[in-house]
């Protein structure tokens, strides 16, 4: 590079970007390396591959009913994701397509709910679930997540790019509103659905605090709760915790890589 100022600028830029990338990836590297080391080595700060991977994996499968906790997590995450997408996309479509004097006021009120911290909702939600007899059920974990103000907002913003002439053409073709939604809107907005699927699935899969409160028996617990209980034991075995963490990460990674292209397109806008 001929220009020294440009060279210095490039070094600084790449240095900064590299540092940020390292900080992002480091926990993942530490998790993978940790899974191959004993708890003592991890506490000592060893950052090299160890030899206890097989032992850690065996301990994890002995201590945890892996199929059950994965089934619990998957059931909750998939159910929450599908219901959230169905409810939120209908709401987003409705907010954008139907004009009414109260529409914007209602929409703003809904957005305001984003500012209420979950800590303020926990106790009322718990009382509600208790009265409905849903404590210690997976439905209690799913129900509070499906009316997501953020996902409604995301769908409404994406729906702005949905061509109104497609809706008009469908009406002339004889479709009712629900048919327009199902046969035209959903396929056209599939990238938006894919992006929302990844966001909601990851949130539901990693959900910790609410399941911790509402799920009380071992039979109903999810992978995040189990990992947490392993980590908070009197003598936690961090190697085993790392194995559990890796396994818990795999489904979300799989979902992301499977839908990566659609996710990027969805974030940029479904309709071109």
């Amino acid at each position: 590079m001929k220009n020294p100022a440009r060279a210095a600028s490039a070094v600084l830029t790449y240095g900064f970007v590299g540092l940020m990338a390292f900080l992002s990836v480091f926990p993942f590297i530490w998790m993978v390396l940790g899974a191959t080391n004993s708890s003592i080595d991890i506490i000592k700060g060893r950052l090299a591959p160890g030899e206890t991977l097989a032992v850690n994996v065996a301990k994890f499968f002995t201590q945890v009913n892996v199929p059950l906790v994965f089934w619990n997590s998957a059931k909750i995450a998939i159910l929450a994701t599908l219901l959230t997408l169905a409810v939120s996309s209908l709401a987003g479509y409705g907010f954008e397509m139907f004009r009414s004097r109260r529409r914007d006021g209602l929409y703003r009120a809904m957005l305001l709910t984003l500012m209420i911290p979950f800590a303020a909702l926990m106790i009322p939600l718990f009382i509600m679930m208790g009265k409905a007899g849903l404590i210690n059920t997976h439905i209690a974990v799913v129900l509070p997540t499906i009316g997501s103000a953020f996902i409604v907002f995301y769908f409404r913003q994406s729906t702005k790019a949905f061509p109104s002439e497609l809706r008009d053409a469908a009406k002339v073709d004889g479709l009712k509103e629900w048919q327009i939604f199902l046969y035209i809107y959903v396929p056209v907005m599939r990238s938006t659905y894919a992006a929302a699927f990844i966001i909601v699935f990851m949130t539901a899969w990693n959900n910790y605090l609410w399941p911790l409160i509402v799920l009380q028996s071992n039979e109903t617990k999810t992978i995040t709760l189990v990992i947490s209980s392993l980590a908070s034991a009197y003598y936690p075995d961090y190697g085993v915790v790392m194995v559990g963490t890796i396994l818990a990460t795999l489904p979300t990674l799989a979902v992301f890589f499977f839908m990566q292209r659609q996710f990027v397109q969805g974030m940029l806008g479904s309709v071109k």
Partner: protein
């Protein structure tokens, strides 16, 4: 083929009236074009016919049946949109057959109609492609094909050529004219392009601010506009307008043009009152070298189109007059010219813009 009638049709959004009482008869097989400037209500009126906008008051009838509250799909219409509005996730074949599928038409019949329409529009090779794999012109033909397969009573076109480039627009214009002839269909067509209107229409409806200004054949509107707005809107380049005053001299009415060196032109108008201010309209092609009336002008700018030349010539008062000439190749900016015209070709409009005859 079908007849369509609008009787005192109005449309309001809250307190704002955008269509202000339209009366219109469209005969079976007629090609009717709505033209007007942006915001005049032409697309709204078309959408009201389609059933995509509610009619606030008045009656819409198709074949003597009141259609105000009938679902768009049951009005016997098909619509072609400006943006084509093809379903992006479906192939051309699926797009064309979609409405029929929802109407419960049997599969072999759908296939037959799609093939027929594809043959008419030369879309046979494109049936299995998705819209994104097609050019603008091909997409427009698919949109027309989607309308044809429904065998509608009336075709509605909402600025269908606006998204195409100039060459393709001319080509598609000819295609639509051919299609009208071939199908003998009733067509209502919205455009702001007066060349489309003039070349395609049997009847043009000129709209301004929700009001019908004039209805007539293209040449009727061109030769015999009812008011200043229609005179200015139809024709390109637009008609020249010169301010004048009616005078009575030697028992003959004249229009004196005080801004043009006191030039006068004799007129014979019933009801013209001496002393009133009027506007004289002269089309660019009505200027020639022999006419009895004349204007002294200086050439400002020239547009050579090959066969003819448009000279934008300025008078000393600053007003610009557009002149069409066949012999303009020798002209250059700054040349002084005398533009002559036959007063019989001049149209006279009163202060309110209404034509004086």
């Amino acid at each position: 083929m079908s007849e369509l009638q609008l009787t005192d049709v109005r449309k309001s959004y809250g307190g704002l009236e955008v269509i202000k009482g339209v009366d219109l008869d469209i005969k079976s097989g007629e090609f009717v074009v709505f033209v007007g400037p942006s915001g005049c209500g032409k697309s709204t009126l078309l959408r009201m016919i389609a059933g995509l906008e509610e009619i606030t008051s008045g009656d819409l009838t198709i074949d003597d049946l009141r259609m105000n509250d009938v679902d768009p799909s049951r009005r016997g219409i098909a619509m072609v949109f400006q943006s084509y509005a093809l379903y992006p996730h479906m192939t051309v074949r699926e797009n064309m057959g979609f409405a029929l599928r929802f109407a419960g038409v049997p599969k072999p019949e759908i296939e037959k109609r799609v093939t027929e329409a594809a043959n008419i529009l030369e879309l046979g090779a494109l049936l299995d492609r998705k819209p994104k794999q097609l050019s603008g012109g091909q997409r427009q033909r698919v949109a027309i094909g989607r309308a044809i397969v429904r065998h509608p009573k009336i075709f509605l076109f909402d600025e269908p050529l606006s998204n195409l480039d100039a060459e393709l627009r001319v080509h598609m214009r000819i295609e639509i004219a051919r299609l009208h002839k071939q199908l003998a269909a009733t067509i209502v067509y919205v455009t702001h392009d007066q060349v489309e209107a003039m070349t395609l229409a049997d009847k043009i409806v000129v709209l301004r601010a929700g009001v019908v200004e004039q209805i007539g054949s293209p040449l009727e509107l061109y030769d015999d506009p009812a008011n200043l707005f229609v005179a200015g809107f139809i024709g390109s380049p637009k008609m020249n307008f010169l301010k004048g005053v009616i005078e009575n001299a030697h028992e003959q009415l004249h229009v004196r043009l005080p801004d043009y060196g006191e030039a006068t032109i004799p007129v014979s108008l019933a009801g013209a009152v001496p002393g009133t201010t009027v506007t004289i309209g002269i089309r660019p092609e009505h200027f020639n070298e022999q006419g009895p009336a004349s204007l002294d002008l200086t050439v400002d700018m020239l547009e050579h189109l090959g066969g003819e030349t448009f000279a934008y010539a300025r008078h000393g008062n600053g007003e610009v007059v557009v002149i069409e000439t066949k012999n303009g190749r020798g002209l250059k900016s700054g040349d002084s010219i005398v533009a002559r015209f036959d007063p019989a070709c001049a149209l006279v409009f009163d202060e309110s813009g209404k034509r004086l005859r």
